[in-house]
Amino acid sequence: MTMQTLPRRLGAAAVTAVIVWFLSVRLDTFRDFQIAQVAVYVTAVAGLTVLTGLSGQISLGNGAFMAIGAYATALLLLHLNWPFIAALVASAVVTAVAGGIVGVAAARLRGPYLAGATLMLGVALPALAFAYQGVFGADQGLNVTFTAPAFLGATFPLTRWQAWVSTVVALVTLVLLANLCFSRIGRNWRAVRDDEVAAALDGVNVAVTRILAFVVSAVCAGLAGSLLAIVTSLVAPGAFTITLSIALLTAAVIGGLGSLPGALWGSLLIVLVPTYVTDVATSHGLSSSVGSNIPIAAYGAILILVMLVFPQGIQGGLVWLLRLFTGPDQKTRIARDAPAPHVTPPADEAPASQHEKEGTA
């Protein structure tokens, strides 16, 4: 089935690519920059939504993988003058290794223990940039020079080129992830997420499956970090604080956990909402301490509201709307894509599993 649907996904990707190309040419160069940013986040968030949504492992430290990818790219461009594409691939490999290591450690951990470990990873890793200033340049980080190819002409806006490159990488990543999710591996992820014991009895190697999920999400984060390096032209620890890791998880859940389109909605939210609210706030002549904090408060409030109004995230909400027109067959995939809610049984009506079985038998 994967083989048959692959062309469709490629088609969809191509369509999206054309749309982005059209927008990037039509809209002003700042929008190009925002497209590039969205593409960067989509790449990272898609990886995380697979890790957390499908394999059921939470990570509050994927910003660290972005940092690894970004520094790898910066060092390769800086010292070895590699072409970006080569550096991109190399960064993916490096982060894959890092993801493997973390995955092995993570494979035994659950829920908040995994969250705590990954959170600390996200806090600790940037500190290394200070500990080894010679290599990583402390807080000043490493400068990355990235220019549009000559054949596009001298006047070609760099931001548009950044938007194109990032979008292509993001789309390729999404297509590959989509195939992965609906391949045997993806099914194993869901099986492990829903019931490890049952999965193991079905002959799924639980540990390997979970580690693989970490590797995949790490690679995505690494690619995103690599893109971020060329989009911001600087790789510095200040860009990879825990705030970033939390923003990634937030985007994944808000967008709709386990859903790739959801990754897009989440990324659009974290890129556009702050800019938009800031402009509104500042344009109303509020004192700067008030005006600058309104976007923060608003962002927090939005997170809470979306979670209470759309338990399945934005994608869940959209699919629910879609179902009003296209019949119930969409329901199944929300059920499939959403993580199993049984991890935290609600304190009130919490049927022990055997009761549930009898109830639904």
């Binding site: 009506e349 049927p351 549930e356 079985k357 009898e358 109830g359 038998a361």
Partner: protein
């Protein structure tokens, strides 16, 4: 409490389920005061759902749950236990992280605030008097108890709520035959000596009917038979068809 005529517990036209699934379809049952009513049926027949609906663990969609003649449908478990219905769920009934005594104290949480320490202490002693094996282990974690002792503990805790109606879900599950016999004796004593109305859900229809006054057979959420225990036990066709013995 109730005049012998009105049933202690009557369920009328009860409909309940989970999500899209209907697990109980217009079920009606009436249990006489101080009688043992066995609820029988294959796995998935809706037995446990019936108990969960009566104890308020799930909210019925339709129908009435009459306790001494007053409708209690839609009440929360916290309210039902105060109304005199104690539910001993199947399986993990004990809280292993708590000591035996603490498990029993939990049984008195439904008591009105007013009751004195002395009353509670007395109730505890009574429980330990009834179940000496528990008394020996009162300060041990419940995790340390054997299967039979756990079943005792759970029933003892339920009794501390001073119920009029006791809902027992598979009390004999996974117990050695000898222990199982003890549990069944206990159930009988509870009804005969303490006048507690008992709803007994059992896979093991034979032993259940042996001690029950009355029996109800569920299949796929519907009542397919309701009669004296003896009559049911004698009905060969029914036994083969629904009870598999």
């Amino acid at each position: 409490m109730s005049s012998g005529t009105a049933p202690a517990l009557a369920v009328e036209e009860l409909v309940a389920g989970y999500g899209g699934v209907i697990a109980l379809d217009r079920v009606s049952i009436s249990a006489g005061t101080a009688a043992i009513t066995a609820v029988l049926g294959a796995n998935g027949a809706g037995k446990t759902t019936l108990l969960r609906a009566v104890s308020g663990m799930i909210r019925p969609r339709r129908g009435r749950i009459l306790l001494d003649g007053t409708d209690q449908a839609g009440r929360s478990p916290e309210q039902m236990v105060r109304a005199g219905v104690a539910h001993v769920p199947e399986g993990q009934g004990v809280i292993p992280e708590l000591t035996v005594e603490e498990n029993l104290r939990v049984g008195m949480m439904s008591w009105p605030r007013g009751r004195s320490r002395a009353d509670r202490a007395a109730a505890l002693d009574e429980a330990f008097g009834r179940f000496p094996p528990l008394a020996e282990r009162r300060r041990k974690l419940a995790a340390a108890l054997s299967g039979g002792e756990r079943q005792m503990l759970v029933i003892a805790r339920a009794l501390l709520a001073r119920p009029h109606v006791l809902l027992l879900d598979e009390p004999s599950l996974g117990l050695a035959p000898r222990v199982m016999a003890q549990v069944m004796d206990l159930v009988v004593r509870l009804s005969r000596e303490h006048g507690i109305t008992i709803i007994l859900v059992e896979q093991n229809a034979r032993s259940a009917l042996a001690i029950a006054d009355h029996g109800v057979v569920l299949n796929l959420g519907r009542v397919v038979a309701a009669a004296d225990a003896a009559t049911l036990a004698a009905d060969v066709a029914l036994r083969h068809h629904y009870l598999g013995f």
